[in-house]
């Protein structure tokens, strides 16, 4: 088994006295897509925020073989962890191009000045963004905003890309396009942690999956096995069963 790029052991997160996540264990290996599926309110976004250092948590997070103590978001970004949050968090009053440039901020700060080249690669992946490069991010459509959020994250040249509900609020056609792109990103060697409600689409492109229910991991396994698991089929994939 390859060395994991991200290893989370016994992660607990509390909001005040309420514990929202209980003893989560999770691994992501280099170059793999791992998905976490589960219903609304299961704690999926909380988990990503805790891993990224946006929320205080208990437990151990190892990223690229280093235990992260006093996790700071900025430090994790420098080390190659990038989160595309559920709300996108774009800079609405700035142009598409500026949004992308800022994605490379941490690399620029450490002397990596190839942001022009990286941007061309991102434009290669998302030709639509190139057409809109001078437009303000706030004026983009939902699908374009999601593309910009992913593109901006790629500008950081991440080792681990974490995506929070990339399909949320998007038309089915756009969802399919986004998932195609995520599957293609795997070829570039980046590890992906994909959090989704759209279990069918997520399990199709993922190598491994976890099912998160009310703050705990309820099930885990190879995504093909998960997709055949009767509990998953019934709860998340619907009566139609696995899509061929």
């Amino acid at each position: 088994m390859a060395a994991p790029i991200l290893e989370v052991n016994d992660l607990c997160v509390s909001y005040g006295k309420v514990e929202a996540l209980h003893h989560i264990n999770l691994r992501v290996e280099s170059g793999k897509i791992v998905t976490v599926i589960g219903p609304n309110g299961a704690g999926k976004t909380t988990m990503l925020s805790a891993i990224m250092g946006l929320l205080p948590s208990k437990g151990e997070i190892q990223f690229r073989g280093e235990v992260q103590r006093d996790i700071e978001v900025e430090h994790l970004v420098t080390m190659g962890m990038t989160l595309v949050p559920e709300k996108r968090e774009l800079f609405g009053e700035m142009s598409v191009e500026d949004n992308l440039l800022l994605g490379a901020f941490q690399r620029y700060r450490h002397g990596d000045r190839d942001e022009g080249k990286t941007m061309d690669q991102v434009f290669g992946t998302f030709p639509r963004l190139k057409e809109r490069r001078m437009q303000l991010a706030g004026t983009l459509s939902g699908g374009e905003r999601q593309m910009l959020a992913v593109g901006r994250a790629l500008m950081a040249k991440p080792k681990l890309l974490m995506l929070d509900e990339p399909s949320l609020g998007l038309a089915p056609l756009i969802v399919r396009e986004i998932f195609h792109i995520i599957a293609d990103l795997k070829q570039t060697g980046v590890a992906i942690l994909l959090v989704e409600q759209n279990a069918r689409a997520a399990l199709q492109i993922a190598d491994y999956g976890y099912v998160l229910e009310t703050g705990s991991i309820a099930l885990e396994g190879e995504s093909r096995a998960l997709a055949d698991d009767p509990r998953v089929v019934e709860t998340y994939l619907g009566l139609g069963g696995k899509k061929q």
Binding site: M52, L54, R69, D70, E72, V73, E74, V77, T78, T82, L83, P85, R88, E89, L90, F91, G92, E93, M94, D98, L101, L102, G103, F105, Q106, Y108, R109, R152, A156
Partner: protein, 345 residues
């Protein structure tokens, strides 16, 4: 009033307005990035002017000791934090900026006899002393409270202001000072006499505003500051730390404040507490802009400057009252025309 007096008052108003514009820009910048309503902005004006005046009077300015003291304090706090976190790699930066830099500045000031230096060098030395106080004050007073509400930050801001005025009295005494003008030149435009310093103030304000515009529009660091102002979470996820953005905006604000002080020192007598009133007028301009729009803030500042100079002609006893009363109709107008947005939790 005849045309000549009107022109004279107009000139006066524009000169003051240019300074208020610079301060208003700094206030908008600091508020947008850190949500701090930066009352001590005016103190940097006074510190800049009085540090320069102290050099010209052949004295060692007290701000130098402030710089050394604040530097030691920041270094001690950051060292404790770095040791606790086991991040000794940070020590180099801590020592360099908070101990080595102030020590070098002190060496320069004490070794060079600044009174004999040309004006430009004296002004540069003043900036070198006063500007780093900005990020240090951010580190000491505001960084630990970065997530606090606007009201808490405002209270801290008032406290910092009071402390800095008190220190100003201690450093510079109660007497006011004036510095020698940058230029003794006099020009006659039609019936209007224009002196060199007026052109200096207006010219450098315009240059500074254009430079800031370029900084925010063209450089990645400027864009990072704007990004933090637009979306703090999004910026953090790009690795733009709130602390870095805060320090950078406080540095810029301190630079703008101290530079404004150096510009006005030859045309008005600056006292240790002059900065407050000057800063407040910049604040009125910033309020006109709703603390968000830079061009509106600059326009508001010119309005404040003109209103001040014309009211000092007709009703000089009430000039401050008139200027500050302006804020009431402005607030009424703003609250009627703009949507109220609840502060984010």
């Amino acid at each position: 009033m005849d045309l000549q007096i009107a022109l004279l008052l107009g000139q006066d108003g524009i000169v003051n307005g240019a300074i208020y514009a610079l301060l208003a820009l700094a206030l908008v910048l600091v508020f947008a990035v850190t949500r701090v309503i930066y009352i001590p902005q005016g103190e940097f004006v006074a510190y800049g002017a009085l540090t320069l005046a102290a050099f010209q009077a052949g004295k060692t300015p007290g701000t130098l000791w402030f710089l050394l003291g604040a530097g030691v304090l920041v270094a001690v706090i950051d060292t404790v934090i770095a040791v606790r976190a086991g991040a000794l790699g940070r020590m180099k930066r801590i020592v360099l900026w908070n101990l080595a830099y102030p020590a070098v500045v002190a060496g320069l000031v004490l070794g060079l006899e600044p009174a004999k230096l040309p004006l430009v060098a004296q002004a540069a030395l003043s900036l070198v002393i006063v500007v780093p106080l900005g990020p240090m004050i951010y580190r000491l007073a505001f960084q630990p409270l970065a997530e606090a509400s606007v009201l808490v930050l405002l209270i801290v801001s008032v406290a910092v202001h009071t402390a800095m005025v008190g220190l100003g009295l201690l450093f510079f005494g109660a007497e006011g000072s004036r510095t020698t003008p940058f230029s003794e030149a006099q020009f006659t435009l039609g019936t209007l006499n224009v002196n060199g310093q007026t052109l200096w103030v207006i010219g450098s304000s315009i240059v500074l505003i254009i430079a800031l515009y370029q900084f925010f529009g063209r450089t990645l660091y400027g864009k990072a500051l704007r990004a933090t102002a637009i979306n703090r979470v999004g910026a953090r996820l790009m690795g733009i730390s709130t602390t870095m953005a805060g320090k950078l905006s406080f540095t810029l604000a301190a630079g703008i404040g101290a530079f404004s002080g150096i510009l006005i020192a030859p045309i008005t007598t600056v006292y240790y507490d002059t900065g407050f009133l000057v800063g407040l007028k910049g604040f009125v301009a910033a309020i006109i802009a709703g603390l968000v729009s830079y061009p509106l803030a600059a326009a508001g500042a010119i309005l404040v400057g003109l209103l001040e100079s014309f009211s000092s002609f007709w009703a000089s006893a009430f000039k401050e009252v008139i200027v500050f009363t302006l804020i009431i109709p402005v607030l009424v107008w703003r609250s009627l025309t703009s949507h109220h947005v609840e502060e984010e939790e």
